[in-house]
Structure formats: structure tokens, C-alpha cells
């Protein structure tokens, strides 16, 4: 029963990770990261059910908190860089290299 949720969570995580690696828009990359975090939440809740304790659900709360904080910080950074450069593409941010 829980296996399905785990597979789903794994898929979501993989999609998120691929998105981070492939996509070029910072916002999209960022949302992919959020997707990964939510995949984690799904896994936690599933395991909480499987293990029969509540720890996983509590962790999911905390993950939400952290994800929210990450949203706040991340969007602030991305918006700032967008205002400066008129572009949110990760590829355009290429000043830092050897």
C-alpha cells in the first residue's frame, strides 16, 4: 500500500532533481527544489504511516516551515537579481568563473 506513495515520492523527487539540472529559469529551478522538498514530505508521511509513529508527520511540519523560509529567501534573491539583470535565467548569470 505505502509502496505506491514511496514510488510517487521518488518520482516527484527525481522530476524535481531533473528540473533543477535541466531548467534554466531560476524560478523554475527553485520550484523544482520545492517539489523535491514536497516529495520528501510525502515520503515522511508515508513512512510515518508505515512505521506507525507520528514523527514523520511532525517532521513534515518542520519541512514546511523550512520550505517557507526558503521561499522567502529564495524569491527575494531571485527577484533582486531579476531586477538588476532583467533576466532570471541561470545561464545569464555567468560572471563568476575562472
Amino acid at each position: 500500500m505505502t509502496a505506491h506513495y514511496l514510488v510517487l515520492s521518488g518520482l516527484l523527487f527525481a522530476i524535481g532533481a531533473m528540473g533543477v539540472l535541466i531548467r534554466r529559469n531560476a524560478i523554475v529551478v527553485f520550484m523544482c527544489v520545492e517539489l523535491m522538498l514536497n516529495a520528501c514530505n510525502l515520503a515522511f508521511v508515508t513512512f510515518a504511516r508505515q512505521n506507525g509513529n507520528l514523527e514523520g508527520q511532525i517532521i513534515a511540519f518542520f519541512v514546511m516551515v523550512v520550505a517557507a523560509a526558503e521561499v522567502v529567501v529564495g524569491l527575494a534573491i531571485i527577484v533582486t537579481i531579476f531586477r538588476t539583470r532583467r533576466s532570471a535565467s541561470v545561464d545569464d548569470a555567468n560572471l563568476l568563473k575562472y
Binding site: F61, M64, A68, V71
Partner: protein
């Protein structure tokens, strides 16, 4: 899981109704094509539809969204706290599980004070003002 079955039933009813309404509309109404009718409404001037991908909207809304998240999360923590604050009593008034008592009070006080500090900061920096 059974608890959610009734909700599912109601959702099917409501959803069926909504989809039916949306789907039936093209067949019940007349069709009189008119170019102007299909323009986006903009008080009569030449419309400037938003570009695909959505238009730009004021940053202000983003700030509000973030503040919402922050406080919503606070609520997430307040609810379990509130529920387990008082001791749980059985039907006969016997205490089944003791409450968290003063510990919880102190912790929540710290928590709320922390949130209020951030809140005060946002307020003072005009994060809550609309112009």
C-alpha cells in the same frame, strides 16, 4: 480512511454538477459570432491583453504571499499546541492524558514573541502598508 468516503461522495456530486454546468453551456446558448464580443474587456478602450505566461504584477503581492506563509506556518504550530494544551479528560471527567501545562505556555510565549519580533520588523519597514 473511511472518514473521507463521504467527502469523496460529496465531491463527486459537486464536481459532477460543476463539470456538467460548464460542459452544457455551449449547447444551451445561442452562437452569434462578433469580433468585439471576444475581446478582453477594458472599459471600452483597445484592450491590451496580458502576454502569455502572465503579466508582471506588483511585488507587493509577493510580499503578502510570503507573510501569509510565515503566519500560516505559525498557525500550523499553534493548532497542535492548543489541542494538547489542556489535559484530555474522559467522559467521566477523569484525566486520560495530562496537558502540557506551563511548559507549553512558556514555549508558545517564546514562539509568539519571536514571531512578533519579525512582525514588528515587517511593520516598521512598511511591509504591511499598501499605497
Amino acid at each position: 480512511m473511511d472518514l473521507y468516503v463521504p467527502i469523496l461522495v460529496l465531491a463527486v456530486l459537486a464536481g459532477g454538477f460543476a463539470i456538467f454546468s460548464v460542459a452544457i453551456a455551449p449547447f444551451t446558448g445561442p452562437k452569434r459570432w462578433n469580433r468585439a464580443k471576444l475581446d478582453a474587456y477594458e472599459c471600452g478602450i483597445e484592450p491590451t491583453p496580458q502576454p502569455v505566461g502572465g503579466g508582471r504584477f506588483p511585488l507587493k503581492y509577493m510580499v503578502t504571499a510570503m507573510l501569509f506563509i510565515v503566519f500560516d506556518i505559525e498557525i500550523i504550530f499553534l493548532y497542535p499546541w492548543a489541542v494538547s494544551f489542556a489535559p484530555l479528560r474522559g467522559d467521566d471527567g477523569r484525566v486520560i492524558a495530562s496537558g502540557l501545562g506551563i511548559f507549553a505556555l512558556v514555549e508558545m510565549l517564546l514562539f509568539i514573541v519571536t514571531v512578533l519580533a519579525a512582525y514588528a520588523y515587517v511593520w516598521r519597514r512598511k511591509g504591511l502598508d499598501w499605497d
